[in-house]
Chain length 370, copies 2
């Protein structure tokens, strides 16, 4: 089999992680705060990192809970908020692990289409008018996984208005926000929901992660939200693990506070931007029949083949694998449909391998037709 080229996993390649910077951050963590790093700490997370995050978002510290990765934060939030039978809105397509986490908890998942500028707010509004009563709406506003699209400012405002009117919580799941490589950043719904002096959101709980800006192996993510909700989740976290890794969180704190961070993050964004450009160019060349939204950041590009031609992403994935290329089939991100689509992650493929990967993928698409 040909050498492997993986477009499947949403993870950075090792060459864009600042290992030297992390090593130095670890040394500083043990030197600067030995008792804090070695001790249990509490479920709120490593206190200096929590403070750093609160300052970044302009909120009081009691709005923030730092966890072992943001998926753990999602799990705590779902355990706290979602009861069996509750309606939860998600994007169509959406992150496969979110879908699984919700269905395993017995949520009644309602999918709303994703457009080039994010979730279809008209479709959501119509569903609400028709009696849909969601408790939670899960939205990935920036460089959506798997869709790659970014929610427009107008839609952010409309979503907030709908949440206020119909009394549901928006779960703004935003791990990619800081790896934007083109276009202009948009305000978070978290901020738009809390214009007053307290900065306390009413209808938004926000999750973010250091996996994309530092590295996944630290497993550090966080929630920002209403302090009453955060306190309830903190209690749950205490009863689950006492406290998250103080060592990991202290290293992250030293890294993001250190003088190498800005350059390290610029390097990540430059590499991701180059990979996204190369991937888009290769798709236009080798798979001209495919359509996709070129993302302004993040890790993913969602590729659709023309409908009605009998494309089957499972067969395409198999044929691609036979050529040493891994992709994730579109059906994994949907409850139904997606047979003509697949997700390509460009985060882990260096630019010099992308063209070759797409060339083989185009062969696989042809082979899967036969």
């Amino acid at each position: 089999m040909a050498d492997s080229i993986s477009f499947s996993r949403g993870a950075p390649s090792a060459d864009i992680v600042d290992i030297e910077g992390l090593k130095q951050a670890a040394v500083r963590a043990f030197e600067n705060d030995p008792a804090g790093v070695a001790g249990y700490g509490t479920a709120v997370g490593y206190v200096p990192l929590r403070r750093h995050i609160a300052a970044k978002h302009g909120v009081p510290e009691d709005h923030v809970l730092v966890t072992n990765g943001s998926m753990q934060a999602d799990a705590f939030l779902f355990d706290e908020v979602v009861e069996r039978g509750d309606t939860v809105v998600v994007e169509r397509p959406t992150y496969d692990r979110t879908l699984l986490g919700l269905t395993e908890r017995g949520a009644d998942v309602h999918l709303i289409g994703l457009q080039e500028d994010g979730i279809d707010v008209d479709e959501l509004e119509a569903a609400l008018k028709n009696g849909l009563r969601p408790k939670l709406a899960h939205v990935i506003p920036n460089f959506q996984n798997p869709g790659g699209s970014t929610l427009s400012l107008e839609k952010r405002r409309r979503l907030l208005a709908l949440a206020a009117e119909h009394d549901f919580l928006i779960f703004e799941d935003d791990p990619y926000v800081d790896v934007r490589f083109s276009g202009e950043p948009l305000p978070r719904m978290l901020e738009l929901d809390a214009p007053g002096e307290s900065n306390t959101p009413t209808n938004v709980v926000y999750a973010c992660s250091f996996s994309k800006t530092v590295c996944p192996g630290v497993r550090v993510g966080y929630l920002v939200g209403n302090p009453q909700l955060i306190a309830r989740i903190q209690r749950r976290a205490t009863n689950t693990y006492i406290s998250p890794s103080q060592v990991s969180q202290a290293i992250v704190h030293e890294f993001v506070s250190g003088d190498r961070y800005e350059a390290a993050l610029e390097n990540v964004k430059r590499a991701l931007g180059e990979r996204a450009d190369t991937l888009a160019a290769a798709l236009r060349e080798h798979l001209p029949q495919a359509t996709f939204v070129k993302p302004e950041g993040g890790y993913f590009l969602w590729v659709s083949l023309p409908e009605g031609e009998g494309h089957d992403c499972a067969r395409i994935a198999e044929e691609a694998a036979a050529r040493g290329v891994q992709i994730v089939k579109g059906t994994d991100f949907l409850v139904e449909g997606g047979e003509n689509a697949f997700r390509l992650a460009y985060s882990a493929v260096t630019a010099d391998r992308i063209d070759e990967g797409v060339r083989r993928l185009a062969e696989a698409v042809e082979a899967a037709k036969a």
Copy 2:
């Protein structure tokens, strides 16, 4: 108020953590395995640490799952095994967080007395004969928290026979095993349950932690058990957090594999042994009416005052706090009873402060009577 002396928290004082060794281990982790440390990894834990643990216990790697602290391991195990209404046996008294974790999951908790040589197996046997049908029995075999007692070899064998006969799972919760400072180590029930070539236990699942041998802030613990059960828990872990902190686990791996570890662990045991001796001597001097089992390892000493004298641990704890001394009241570790008892953790109090702490505590016991 007088300067504070805390006998309340089961955590090591900073002076017995080898911060320099941890710092060097962190540097080695980033240098030796940059891709492994920075990447996601999987829910089984950091692979070299998992391998190290498997070798330590003489089991195949698929028997081991490394988690973000052993309480997270407990939580996964309870979620997997304990359903609402299931009977679970625990020791009386037992670790307060275990009790909470079980009652929150709706378990029907059945307490069996703790003796100087561990859980009262006669009482358990009689209860089983009377129809008790536990799914799980939670036992802390070494230097029990809060009781301080260690399960004898004979009782280990009898417990295993009862588990085989009545088809329940023994949860051998063993975080303190490696901080034994006197007496001889006893074989684990995990080993006694798996005498064959496969080393696969039938009725035991085992949990341990690096909090006591390395430091709590790493939040690294693990489970060892039947690979079918481990695989089910692995799936649960994947869906909760993808993977535990690779950074933390790689640092632990380098630390426990490094050439400073043996001396660091000896230093911890020496300090704990000295603190336990000092505490026992101080109790004999200042609180001669108290009874306790002097532990052979671990962090805790369980103090009982004579019954029938109207002692109230809540009042004692209050009076102690007014004198700057923190203790945990006996009632926290029991469903009922324990008013005449309290737990003293000597892990965090340096030997030179212990006598003064107990002197004040004796005053508090007197004041609480009035």
